[in-house]
Amino acid sequence: MIQLQHVAYNYQRQEVLKDISLSFPIGQIIGIAGENGSGKSTLLKIIAGIQRPKKGTISLHKESLSRRHADIIAYLPDMDLFYSFYTTKELFAFYASQFSDFSIHKALEVANFLEVDVNVKLKKLSKGNRGRAKMAATLGRNTAYYVMDEPFSGLDPIVRESLLKGLIRYTNMEEQSIILSTHELHEVEPILDQLIVLKQGEVIAQDDLETIRFETNQDAVSWMKYVTKEKVK
């Protein structure tokens, strides 16, 4: 279980996250939604141990979290941070050299499932195929948590669907969890267990998807619009 208590973050005087307390159990797919600039990326970086909160604590299984925990959490950044002259296969070899939990075998299997040609240089791949290669590299790691920043953004519906299926197929919900941010709520909703909505650095709503539908008769998209508006009043 990852636990955040009263986490706050700011860039100089600009508050990015304010007093966030959340917990992320094992065995769930958790979505984080919110408008641009609501603090999603920063929150994910803090969860992944890449950025430190300015205030508050973050712990994993009751131990406080630091950069060393990169071996328990696989992080998929929203930017292309990889050497573009690598082929996907070389990217996997690089991952294997960096992460002891990385399985080239599994990464290749995911790449095959997502139909990525692993012998083509990343820069020669279409954006959709680069998104697939990134996903395969991330899922190649065997970690308790996968933290993914906008894994579907800018990709067409067919790529998005294959990535969603890849997530279902190559994670084990008895031992792992996925925390991902997304704007494509309508498509992602069926795979989510719970949804967290951020606005201006605060958590304004959090609930199980089935509860949202059962109690409010709304899907995730309309629920999110509703809670975001309520907060403005």
Binding site: I168, M173, P190, I191, D193, E210, R213, F214, N217, D219
Partner: protein
């Protein structure tokens, strides 16, 4: 209710009902139509969640629900099977019929139609078919 399909494409869901209950309806429909026969082996939770593009935990809930309705039985180490108890399926059939009629009656009442004029229309439809 859930749209037509069944082929390898992610299912579309209506917005006002929990996804698990829409999947329960979908499978009940398949049982009533005979697409799933008594004694048929069902997909594993993982396979089914991949087929419909839905979270594994949600599918687990679907399977639990079907088991509570006595429509499926789980045999240890072998998987989940559609019940061979025809009485259960008959029971589902009757329940579903009543439920659909109730829904229908609600929606005609919402538009202010009387039962009588609707029954007339239904009869005409039935004859012309």
């Amino acid at each position: 209710m859930v749209g037509e399909g069944g082929y390898e494409m992610t299912q579309d869901f209506t917005r006002d009902k929990p996804i698990y209950s829409q999947l329960v309806d979908l499978i009940c429909g398949d049982i009533l139509k005979g697409k799933l026969q008594p004694g048929d082996k069902m997909h594993s939770v993982r396979e089914y969640s991949l087929e419909v593009g839905v979270n594994v935990n949600t599918v687990q809930r679907v399977y639990k629900e079907l088991e509570l309705m006595d429509l499926t039985e789980t045999k240890r180490g072998q998987g989940t099977f559609i019940t061979t108890d025809e009485g259960r399926i008959q029971h589902l059939r009757e329940n579903m019929k009543v439920e659909l009629v109730n829904q229908f009656l609600q929606s005609i009442a919402a538009f202010g139609f009387s039962k009588e004029e609707i029954i007339q229309t239904l009869q005409r439809k039935g004859e012309s078919k």
